[in-house]
């Protein structure tokens, strides 16, 4: 009988522990934070959790919003994709949070998306991604490919005179899509097939000898060559090391990376990398008062002089402030009203301009190209003359060429096809479900 007892006790304990939460008071605005604190993604995501917590603290010092305090609800999805969906459901259904800041990888966002749509939540996603998505419930504060990849390629082409391209990436959706877009774009610009080399490697790839050697011989064909790198995470260190050791310097074959920021560089001896490039919408080295204040606050918050800031942190900074502004504007935290109110909201970014939420739930961003310095920072060598609005649907992919997203009524559609003049079936249904 003892088994039975155990199971029963366990079950009722589970039921109790789960339902107790929902009795909490209604007063503070609950901000869910859905970033991995353990597992492989903890490296990148932990700082984002801290960022949001810091922003909440700062906002509360200013008296909260609408006279209400903000309260962080932190969960750990542990770099486990199904767990992301489960934790999102926990945040929305059990904790009843008003908004979620979270996710890093595309797969985790894809995993969470159906949950957020079903339970009509709000999610701010802070990382550069492959585009091809626009959800009624998600706000994309990171860069879409047209806010990072295409300007970077333009810079290489026009300013450096690159004619031959290596598109190297980790084998997952973001690099695949970005490279697809770039390939189409480059070919439209008259680059020949044989001047493009595409290469994919697995996650955490550590033996780059062959690939770097291939890049080297690809680069000796007489035309200026550059590497466009969408190599992710841990694989970068051995890649750059091998580049340095095989004697490829930035003035021979520059590498422009889309996934290497200050955080990643803090784990690398950057001496041999000086001059290689990265394209982002924010660099820690940008010289504005807003940025220095943010950095100082961050250093104080972490209590460590050497901590760095990076692009997704700025994205959360922007997203958080947009949410606050939208709540003020709507006068409530009601999800549907905030969703309506937030479109068109402008808040200052850290690089000296303004970010505006567009009707497609993407924001306007400046694009900066930076060169790696020996202290793990970037020095800005180029930037777009004005901010660029994020494109949910790429103009360079055949499947999405005719699609736009506009979440203002009456269109209210994430997949509007301008060729047929109708909204894709999926979002119509989504909207119906959400009502």
């Amino acid at each position: 009988m003892s088994i039975k007892k155990h199971v029963k006790v366990g079950l009722s304990a589970l039921a109790l522990s789960v339902s107790m939460h929902s009795v909490a008071a209604e007063d503070p605005i609950k901000v869910g934070i859905l970033h991995s604190l353990s597992g492989t993604m903890a490296i990148s995501e932990t700082v984002l959790k801290d960022t949001v917590e810091m922003l909440i603290e700062q906002q509360n010092e200013k008296g909260g919003v609408l006279g209400r305090e903000l309260e962080a609800v932190v969960v750990d999805p542990a770099s486990d994709w199904p767990l992301f969906a489960e934790k999102a459901r926990e945040l929305l259904a059990q904790e009843e949070v008003d908004v979620i800041f979270g996710n890093w990888t595309s797969v985790s966002r894809k995993s969470v998306l159906p949950v957020v749509e079903e339970l009509n939540g709000l999610l701010f996603y802070p990382v550069q991604y492959e585009g091809e998505e626009s959800s009624e419930n998600v706000f994309y504060t990171g860069a879409a490919p047209n806010q990072q990849a295409i300007p970077a390629v333009n810079y290489l082409k026009d300013e450096i005179g690159v004619e031959r391209w290596v598109l190297a990436g980790t084998d997952y959706v973001y690099p695949r899509t970005t490279n697809k877009i770039l390939e189409t774009y480059l070919k439209d610009q008259g680059v020949a097939d044989e001047d493009i080399m595409v290469n994919y490697t697995p996650f955490g790839h550590s033996d780059w000898q062959n690939i770097v050697s291939d890049i080297k011989s690809f680069g000796s064909a007489g035309k200026k060559t550059a590497v466009v790198s969408t190599i992710n995470g841990d694989a970068n260190v051995p890649f750059y090391r091998e580049l340095g050791n095989q004697g490829i310097s930035a003035s021979d074959i520059p590498v422009v990376a889309f996934s290497v920021g200050e955080q990643e560089l803090s784990g690398i001896d950057t001496g041999p990398l000086v001059g290689h490039l990265a394209a982002w919408n924010y660099f820690m080295s940008v010289d504005t008062d807003a940025n220095w204040d943010f950095i100082d606050a961050w250093i104080d918050y972490k209590g460590d002089d050497t901590v760095v800031t990076n692009d997704p942190m700025e994205a959360h900074y922007i997203g958080f402030n947009m949410y606050i502004e939208a709540v003020k504007k709507a006068g409530t935290t009601d999800v549907d009203e905030v969703k309506d109110a937030i479109i068109g909201v402008s808040v200052p970014n850290l690089t000296g301009g303004y970010a505006t939420m567009m009707p497609n739930h993407h924001i306007t961003k400046p694009v900066l190209i930076g060169e790696i310095q020996d202290n793990g920072q970037f020095s800005v060598v180029w930037e777009t003359p004005s901010t660029v609005a994020g494109d949910a649907w790429s103009d360079f992919l055949p499947g999405s060429r005719d699609m736009i997203a506009d979440w203002r009524k009456p269109m209210f559609c994430g997949t509007f096809n301008t060729a047929t003049g109708s909204c894709g079936a999926s979002s119509g249904e989504m909207a119906a479900e959400a009502e």
């Binding site: 109790l16 604190l37 750990d76 499947g399 096809n417």
Partner: protein, 378 residues
């Protein structure tokens, strides 16, 4: 294995199986009633979130039972059962993807979104047929079964045993993980399969469907348990235990050891496949990380914690560890890996028979003289 019904019905007469089925049925009934009948604000209400969570645990429990069948009763420590679980999951995921039809983002009636996205112009051959439920459900059993058959046939025939077998099962799941990560494979790469809508015409985003899936998982676990009990109490089961304890001797007694091993291994793989298939619609995503060797090892630890070669111990272990995981990752995320790691060490060193061993010890004390041979193995 004279007649198929007798070996399947025999376990139903055992007290332990009756007890297990009774508890399982009661638990299913209690959860269902609390979910449906209790008002939402009641402290006793079981939310849809909890139902899905419990459904997930039950899938893991079924997987643990499958692992216990080969490890506990056949002596094969498979570090690759996650592969069969994931393959079953992918078969189900492919069916669910095809069910989306033209409601995907790009509105393509045939191609799943990720294929449109990567400019594929037609469906790869191995995706055909998955729009039909019967075919997909058959594949849930057949694909893991076939892989287990080929792998087992090669391995058992050449008498790869012990550590070597464990290591190559690990290599198997690792190779599959790498393969499924490749976008060229046509399984969605790292993003896997997601954004499911319907199963058999029921909307996956409704609470009723979730409850249905939960109950279905419970039933699957019950059936899987009975099948495993049936096998281990049959003559075949006794031969397999003999293989576990002294493979060479069993062979010399004239038994075709590799056939027994192959049969049990394939059944176990199929059960794992079913568990994976039920898991996918409940968690809403399948991705290559289910193939990761780490996951497979974790499953073995559930079994070890619950008690090897007891079957019900596997269920207890799976439920307990996963419940702890849910709680810990919420309350103190940093401590979770310490707790899990510590559990591995403590259980293997101090609790070689797991929780089931503890339970048995307690039961053994009052009734000193226990001569039921079936209990001895359980």
């Amino acid at each position: 294995m004279a007649t198929s019904t007798t070996w399947l019905l025999r376990p139903l007469q055992e007290r332990s199986t009756q007890l297990f089925l009774g508890i399982l049925t009661a638990a299913l009934a209690v959860v269902t009633i609390l979910h449906l009948a209790m008002p939402e604000d009641s402290a006793l209400h079981v939310s849809a979130y909890t139902v899905t969570l419990l459904g997930k645990y039950l899938c893991y429990a079924l997987l643990a039972v499958a692992v216990d069948l080969v490890w506990g009763y056949l002596g094969i420590l498979s570090l690759g059962h996650g592969a069969f679980f994931a393959l079953g999951g992918y078969a189900m995921g492919m069916y669910l993807m095809r069910q989306i039809g033209d409601r995907g983002t790009y509105g393509d009636p045939v191609l799943p979104d990720f294929m449109v996205f990567l400019n594929w112009d037609s469906l790869p051959w191995y995706w055909h047929g998955f729009d039909m439920a019967w075919f997909a459900f058959a594949m849930v059993l057949l694909v893991p079964g076939a892989l287990a058959f080929v792998f087992g046939y090669l391995a058992f025939r050449s008498r790869v045993t012990g550590v070597y077998l464990s290591i190559i099962t690990q290599a198997l799941t690792f190779a599959l993980m790498l393969a499924f990560f490749r976008n060229e494979m046509g399984f969605g790469g790292n993003n896997g399969l997601t954004d499911f809508r319907d199963i058999l015409g029921f909307n996956l985003r409704t609470d009723a469907t979730r409850l249905g899936l939960f109950i279905a998982t419970g039933i699957a676990l019950a059936i899987g348990y009975v099948i495993c009990r049936g096998i281990v109490t049959s003559k075949l089961g006794r031969v397999s235990i003999a293989c576990r304890d002294a493979e060479a001797r069993t062979r010399f007694l004239g038994y075709r050891v590799e056939r027994v091993q192959l049969f049990v291994f394939v059944v176990s793989a199929m059960l794992a496949g079913v568990a994976g298939a039920l898991y996918v619609p409940q968690v809403g995503i399948i991705n290559p990380s289910e193939f990761s060797p780490l996951f497979s090892i974790e499953v073995v630890v559930w079994v070890a914690l619950g008690g090897r070669a007891t079957l019900y111990g596997a269920v207890i272990g799976a439920l307990l560890v996963n419940y702890a995981k849910t709680v810990f990752t919420g309350v103190m995320p940093d401590a979770w890996l310490f707790a899990l790691g510590g559990l591995f060490v403590l259980v293997t060193v101090f609790l070689p028979k797991g929780i089931a061993g503890l339970l048995q010890k307690r039961r053994k004390a009052p009734e000193k003289d226990r001569s039921n041979p079936q209990e001895a193995t359980a």
